[in-house]
Each structure stands twice: as C-alpha cells, then as structure tokens.
Amino acid sequence: METAVRVKGLTRSYGQVRAVRGVDFEIRRGEIFALLGPNGAGKSTTVEILEGHRSRDGGEVSVLGVDPRQATRRWRSRLGIVLQNSVDVPEATVREVVRHFATYYPNPNDPDRVIEQVGLAEQADRRIRQLSGGQRRRVDVALGVVGNPELLFLDEPTTGFDPEARRTFWELIRSLEHTTILLTTHYLEEAEALADRVAVIAAGRVVAEGHPRTLGGRASAKATVSWADGIEETDMPAKTVVRLMERYGGEVPELRVTRPTLEDTYLRLIEENAS
C-alpha cells in the first residue's frame, strides 16, 4: 500500500532540551494513525514538523511525497490541519467561515455538505460565539476537511468534551472515509476507538507501535483472574475458571477475567521509557 507519511530518524532540540531524539514511523494511505504520549514527549513537535509549522534538526520527513521544508501552496492544498485551539472569529457565522476557507483551495468540497457532515446544519447561520465548545470543534473539523484533503491532522480534537460529545465526535471522524488521518490524543479510549494503528512516543522516541489491540504485547499478555477470595495471573484463564467452578460447585463469586487495557499497556510503556 502507498505511504502517506514517512518519518526517519527525526530530531529536534530546543536549546539543551532534546525534544525529539530519532522518531521513526510510517502512515499508510487511508489509515487512521494515532500518536500517543505524555505532555513533553515530543508529540506536538513531531506533528508540527510534519505540518510544516516547525523546522527540524535532522532526519528524513516525507508528507504526501514532499519534504515539509519545501512546503508549497499546492502541497498545502492537499492537507487539512485541525489545531489544538479552536477557530476564533466570534462574529462570523458557521457558513461564512466554512465558505471562506473553501475559497483557499483549488478543489474544495461543497461547504454546505461539509457543514451537514459535521452535524452543524441547524447551526449553519449562527455566529461562532453562540456555539458550544463541542460545536466549535466541529467547525474546526469542517475547516480541516473543506479543502478535500488527502491527509488530515487532528491535534487533540476532543479535549474538554463530555463522554457523549466525544462519542458523537468519533462517529464524525469515522465518517471521513478515504482520508488518511494523523491523530494525537490524550485519551487511550479514543485511540482504541478510532485508530488502525497507534505509536507511543516517550522521551522523544517511538517506544511501541502497532494495532491498538496488540500494542506492546497486549494480546499475548497474561490474563488476570480474580474472584471473591483470590487472584491469579495465567496464560490459560478458561482453565482456571473451570477449576474454580468445580471448587465452588457452580457460580464463582465476583469473578472477573481481564487482560491489560490499552491504558495499562501505555502506562507501563511510559514508565519503562521514562527519560
């Protein structure tokens, strides 16, 4: 499959601080790729270098076949960027802003359809200042996709959302088929719900990469069986449950069988790789 983004040996320092110390990853066309990592791990720096907003010290970067150092208008017209902070034009209506941004692009999507797609059809003629935080974020996504991008950057898109708003937002992202997406997020649940692949950045390096279900050996990790008066780690949890049923002569009180969640795996990876 074609590659949308290729990063090799990327480095970037701020004075004495080595923020990015050799990051490697590839994003294939059409996939949703999540970058996870604590604040200060080098996540934002990496993304900003890919977006052409920041210079790099070393390494190779190719975004849609172009080095962001040689950013051109043509290249920019193939990208969509949703930044961390929301659009701030309080007195414009949703339709005006989306239509305005559409004029920047050579081959834009129909603004009214985009507004509908992000679920703001009813608010299309409202001023931005009248919108809720979640609705503003939808405007940001609309501005990110109105140019009909091949690659969309989503930087912490749901920070500050309530759980319900977050879930409806995920539906919106899932509806953007055929668009390659680079997502950064603090919410492991979000990465698990949306991403085809995830990479964990810690202390300026990628410390694990893979499918959210198998990341960091998660799928093959020992299961934990716990019940009213015991706990056991095992490779064969079914066997343990059968044994317990025999012992209790039926239902096992407070029975739970768990494997490490993405969050457990993530926290372990971060701890193991603390700088």
Binding site: L79, I81, V87, H100, F101, Y104, P106, G147
Partner: protein, 267 residues
C-alpha cells in the same frame, strides 16, 4: 485526478478584505474604538477653541480637522493593525491561516484593502463633522489629499504589521501600540501647534510619518493661508512625499524581517 489551478493571490486578497471588513463592522466595540477617538477629539477641540489663527484667515477648526484626518488615518492603519494582528497571532488565527494554501501576500493585501476602506470611512466621517459643525469648506485639491493619505496609510499599515510582533501577548498589545501613538500625536502637531513645542521635540517628530502626513493634509485643508503656521513657512510637499515614501520602504523591510505566524509562547 485532474490538475486544478490554485486560486489567484489577488482574488484571495479581495476575498480576505471582504471577510475581514464584515467581521470588523459586526464588532461594535472595535468599530467605536477605531473610529471614535479622532472624531470625539475634533468635536472637543472644535468646541473649546474657536475663531481664527491670528491674521491668517485660518480657523482653529480647520487646523484640528487636518490633524485629526492625519491621526485618524494612522489610527485605522498603524494602531488598528498593530493591535488586531497581535491578537490574531495570540489566538492562533495566523497559525491556522499559515496551514492553508492561502498565500501570505493575500493575507496582507486583504489587511491593506480593508484598512483602505476604513480610512475612507474615517475621512468621510471627519469631513462631515467639520463641515456640519464648524462650517469647513470641502477641500478642492483631492489629488494631493489622495497621494498624501495613500502614502501615509501604506506606511501606517506596514508599520502596524511590523509593530504587531513587538508585544509579548495580545493583552499588552493595546498598551505597546497606543502609548507611542498617543505621544506621537502630541509631538506631531495634531493636538498642539508646533509653535508651542520645543525645537528638540519637533526634531523628534520629524523622524516619524505622522508629522509629514498632517503637514500634507494641512496644505489641502488650510490652503496657502496656513503656510505661515508651518515651521519653515511652507508645506514642503516634496519632503512629505520623500519621508512618507521612505517609511513605506522601511516599513516593508521591517515587516519582512519581523513578521511571525506563531506567538512567542508557541515558539
């Protein structure tokens, strides 16, 4: 996929200007902030000081109208852009625009065109007040007024864009831009005639564009009768063009050196 052409820079500049003006005129506080000060001051000075300047046939209202037109044009260009661009930088608007295929030149063209519209509004507003309240005769030399204000506006825009990079945050922008602008108005003969100012202050103000812009506007509003009020006894239109032109070039260079799309906090 078929290769489509990117929208042209001039067309996008016009689109930007329309978009910016619509936002601007919807924000009532901003409109009042930008337009009102010169008008209010003109009405104040016009009411406080009446009559003619000794033996010149020039009325005080004429002198202040000329001064306020100069100051007003600098208010919509220098002060307005210096503050509003600092805010756009801080709230991430500039970074968002930098991430789109809109060329930077279109952004600046949009700013300058929208300031041009605001400048014309300010001019009409001030002339209307002066004609209605103080019986000013409308100027006849529109050509001179046109080039003086255009050069002054261009210099003001470029310097405003350049100065917007100075404040550390949007909150301090208003202070960083307004204070020097206010001082400049006092020493450039807008509020106080040169004859009342010490020579060294006049020398300082002669470096900056406001003094020359006001002088050019006076040549149109006051006419030959006011020439004796000038420092050199003449309007020196040649020097007005020279100094304002130099500031346009200097402002452009400053813009190119200092302009940043991201806030300092953002690196």
């Amino acid at each position: 996929m078929t290769e489509t052409t990117l929208p042209g820079f001039a067309r996008l500049g016009l689109v930007r200007a329309g978009y910016e003006l619509k936002q601007f005129f919807r924000e009532r506080e901003q409109v009042i902030f930008v337009f009102s000060l010169p008008v209010v001051l003109l009405m104040l000075f016009g009411s406080v000081f009446e009559g003619e300047w000794d033996g010149t046939g020039v009325t005080v209202a004429e002198v202040y109208t000329a001064g306020m037109i100069g100051a007003g044009v600098l208010a919509v260009s220098f002060q307005n852009l210096g503050i509003s661009i600092a805010m756009e930088r801080e709230d991430g608007t500039l970074k968002r625009l930098a991430g789109t295929p809109m060329p930077p030149a279109s952004y600046f063209l949009g700013k300058i065109l929208s300031v041009l519209v605001m400048g014309v509004c300010e001019l009409v507003l001030l002339l209307t007040v002066a004609v209605l309240l103080y019986g000013l005769e409308l100027p006849s030399d529109w050509l001179t007024l046109g080039w003086v204000l255009t050069l002054g506006l261009a210099a003001g825009c470029l310097l405003g864009i350049a100065v917007s990079s100075l404040p550390r945050s949007a909150r301090s922008a208003s202070a960083v831009v307004t204070l020097p602008f206010l001082v400049l108005q006092f020493i450039s003969g807008v509020f106080i005639p040169f004859t009342e100012l010490p020579a060294w202050l006049v020398n300082v103000s002669s470096i900056f564009p406001l003094k020359w812009m006001c002088q050019g506007v006076r040549s149109v509003i006051l006419g030959p009768g006011g020439e004796s009020l000038e420092m050199t006894g003449s309007y020196e239109l040649g020097r007005v063009a020279l100094v304002l032109g130099a500031w346009v070039v200097g402002g452009l260079v400053l813009c190119l050196i200092t302009f940043r799309w991201k806030s300092r906090r953002d690196g």
